[in-house]
């Protein structure tokens, strides 16, 4: 446990970097018209994320590139590019959506190369890659629609909380390094969320946020699920945990239920966030139960 506390403490400077960048780039600016403040918001998160991931993975060793390196080399730049294009005023929507579809379809094939090469038949690979691509796109569309209508504050919070949930499940399920990767992303989002709590930009620059964070969040989740999680006592556990974490950000939509319309927007956001947090809590409980069973079988300490 002490080790885990220090790992979290090690990640905190990233949150500070993210917060400083976000505060410096977007404070007191209104981004109703898009443009620079919106770009500043996601750039602060993107730069801090890149710093965090690179500090953990190092530069890619060209002799043995792992999926974590593909995250840094391919997924981060691709998501960053989509967010950038989407933030430029008067960019044709068709172009932005085409890029979103391409990135959504490309994340899984890039990260799952070893599974395709060593573990899956052609039909399995087609099914998994198609399914994962469709899932990423569906989550992306729904989160985009939410942020366009209702702003980016609550999405930033739940995406950060989901990243923290993925990190915690990964720590509990077998990998420190993969947990650190997602943990760094969670800390970055948390820092940006805190730093921009009073900025109007956060209300209006949501789409760029989802363009950057959804592919990254789901890429990190895929990376952890495919290569790290060791939940073997219950065969369904890892898939159920993954599904819960995929849909967790979408819990925000619960605040749009018709009978909640009379609530203030703040209360609606709190309610939606609570639904997301509940889904994350269920996922954490299953991962924790699996870790408990493994500890019972082999003892808690084996290092």
């Amino acid at each position: 446990m002490t080790e885990l506390v220090w790992i979290v403490i090690d990640l905190l400077p990233l949150g500070a970097i993210s917060a400083a960048l976000a505060w410096g780039l977007v404070r007191n600016k209104d981004s109703r018209q898009g443009g620079l403040p919106a770009i500043g918001w996601f750039m602060s998160i993107g730069l801090a994320t890149l710093i965090g991931l690179l500090s953990l993975t190092g530069l890619p060793p060209w002799k043995s590139i792992e999926s974590k390196h593909w995250l840094v080399m391919a997924v981060v730049p691709a998501a960053f590019f989509v967010a950038l294009i989407g933030s430029i005023p008067k960019t044709p929507k068709v172009l932005t959506w085409l890029l979103r579809v391409l990135v959504a379809a490309g994340v899984a094939p890039v990260l799952m190369q070893p599974m395709v090469r060593y573990n899956w038949s052609v039909s399995e690979a087609a099914g998994w890659l198609g399914g994962l691509g469709a899932t990423i796109l569906a989550v992306w569309i729904l989160m985009h629609l939410y942020t366009v209508r209702y702003g980016g504050r609550a999405p930033l919070f739940v995406i950060g909380a989901t990243a923290a949930g993925v990190a915690a499940c990964t720590f509990a399920s077998g990998s420190i390094t993969a947990g650190q990767l997602t943990g760094s992303f969670a800390v970055v989002l948390g820092g940006a969320w805190l730093a921009t709590s009073r900025s109007k930009t956060c209300t209006h620059a949501g789409p760029a946020l989802t363009d950057l964070t959804i592919p990254l969040l789901l890429g990190l989740l895929i990376n952890s699920w495919a290569y790290s999680w060791q939940m073997q006592h219950e065969p369904w556990a890892s898939r159920v945990v993954a599904i819960l974490l995929v849909v967790a950000p979408l819990g925000l939509w619960a605040d749009r239920l018709p009978w909640l319309k009379r609530l203030s927007s703040t209360r609606q956001a709190v309610l939606g966030s609570a639904v997301s947090l509940s889904l994350i809590a269920v996922a954490l409980s299953i991962a924790g139960y699996e870790a408990y069973l493994r500890a019972q079988a082999t003892g808690p300490s084996y290092y």
Binding site: S64, I65, E66, M115, R294, T298, Y303
Partner: protein, 189 residues
């Protein structure tokens, strides 16, 4: 001798020649017997003791002819340290990352016979990283088994630094230097 007899004689000669040739070629070819082979490793734990483990799935082939060669493939996921949770952790991305790098291989590039066995130079690929290595492969013995198969046995011990292969996590707790012992029997093909 009739034409038919001539052809039969020629055919017999060809068959004998090819058969003999095949026998000569296969006398140098050996296949590793996984049931009588082991790759065992030991590594420092907290600078307090040496912990031992092994790999349970090994395959390989040996050529003891003029163009001598040794080649092995080990399934990284078969790592076994007598603790299931630790083995899971070792298979994951913090160590072997077995789903992304499922095999550990050794291919000799040069094998020189000497009194003890063979001096091998080759490439070991672990965790996706290939590094050159030189080892002495000691011939332990050679014998026929009760089922009529001819066997040869070799053994070698050497060290590698896991950080040279990009496996550099938890170096403060688990040592860098890994001592490997490769011990195997091979059956003549």
């Amino acid at each position: 001798m009739t034409h038919v007899s001539k052809y039969l004689a020629m055919l017999t000669a060809v068959v004998i020649t090819v058969g003999a040739g095949g026998a000569i070629a296969s006398a140098d070819q050996w296949k590793v017997d996984p049931d009588h082979s082991a790759i065992v490793f030991s590594i420092s734990h907290l600078d307090t003791s040496n912990q031992h483990g092994r790999f349970n799935e090994i395959a390989g082939s040996v050529n003891t002819g003029e163009q001598a060669s040794f080649g092995f493939t080990v399934q990284a996921a078969s790592v076994d340290t007598n603790n299931a949770k630790r083995d899971d952790h070792l298979r994951g991305p913090d160590f072997f990352n077995a789903k992304q790098f499922p095999t550990i291989t050794f291919e000799s590039t040069e094998a020189t016979a000497n009194e003890a066995g063979y001096a091998l130079t080759g490439n070991i690929t672990l965790h996706g990283v290939t590094n050159p290595i030189t080892v002495q492969m000691v011939k332990v013995g050679e014998a026929d088994d009760p089922w009529g198969k001819h066997r040869v046995g070799f053994e070698s011990s050497f060290t590698v630094n896991r950080s040279d292969f990009g496996m550099d996590n938890m170096l403060e707790m688990v040592g860098d230097e890994v001592t490997l012992t490769v011990s195997f029997e091979a059956i003549r093909q």
